[in-house]
Amino acid sequence: MLELADLVFVMLGISALLSIPATILAIISRDLLRAVIFSALQSTMYTLMFFLLMAPDIVLVYVAVSIGFMSLLIILLIKKVGRYERY
């Protein structure tokens, strides 16, 4: 019989497992814009993990900094230096 504690732990496991393909795709893809989008997807999975671990201060900081500010800064950087990797 599933209790509330089991559900919380299962959600933790699912969101951690979903962040592995996002990280691998972010590092392997040669189009840098796609790499930034996959990195933002991995940050979303981590935000869900932080919320389930009862850390609301960290959720507020992490959403504003990692999904918002760093993605914007790296997209501006890609516009100036070039979008595709050589190999």
Binding site: A5, I24, I27, A35, V36, F50, I58, L77, V81, R86
Partner: protein
């Protein structure tokens, strides 16, 4: 205490964080593009911070719901404080991770500015080509 499902899910989260850290280290060392190195470095910092917060969690005892370390009653009695101590999650890793996120953000902002500066000197952000260009200039200067 704690059922098999809970313990195995917790171990799965820890091992997936190990995999993330190892893959990001590969990304930092092996890819020659500077922007790809920066993206891998950012994900590495976030994975290590997530591991720190994971250590501060607690086991669910039967009948007790966990809560974040915020006291909700502004005139607490002794009984309410004891309940708070049984339910609250560890606040110390959260405070340390807050500091770590801010320092990581400051370093990343400076790295973005440094990458722009390198691009304007060498006109490329590929480390292999920058190495070849530097070798050419050094050979020219010493002959």
């Amino acid at each position: 205490m704690g059922s098999e499902l809970q313990i195995s899910m917790y171990v799965i989260v820890i091992v997936s964080l190990y995999v993330n850290i190892a893959v990001c280290m590969y990304g930092v060392i092996s890819k020659p593009n500077l922007v790809k190195k920066l993206i891998s470095f950012t994900i590495l910092q976030d994975s290590i911070n997530a591991f720190l917060i994971l250590i501060g969690y607690k086991l669910w005892k039967p009948g007790i719901l966990l809560q974040p370390p915020v006291l909700l009653d502004w005139n607490p009695t002794s009984e309410i404080l004891k309940q708070f101590l049984e339910r609250a999650v560890d606040p110390l890793p959260q405070a340390l991770v807050l500091t770590a996120i801010v320092i990581g953000l400051a370093v990343n902002i400076f790295l973005v500015t440094a990458i722009l500066h390198v691009y304007r000197h060498f006109n490329t952000v590929d480390m292999d080509e920058i190495g070849k260009l530097k070798r050419v200039v050094v050979v020219e200067e010493t002959t």
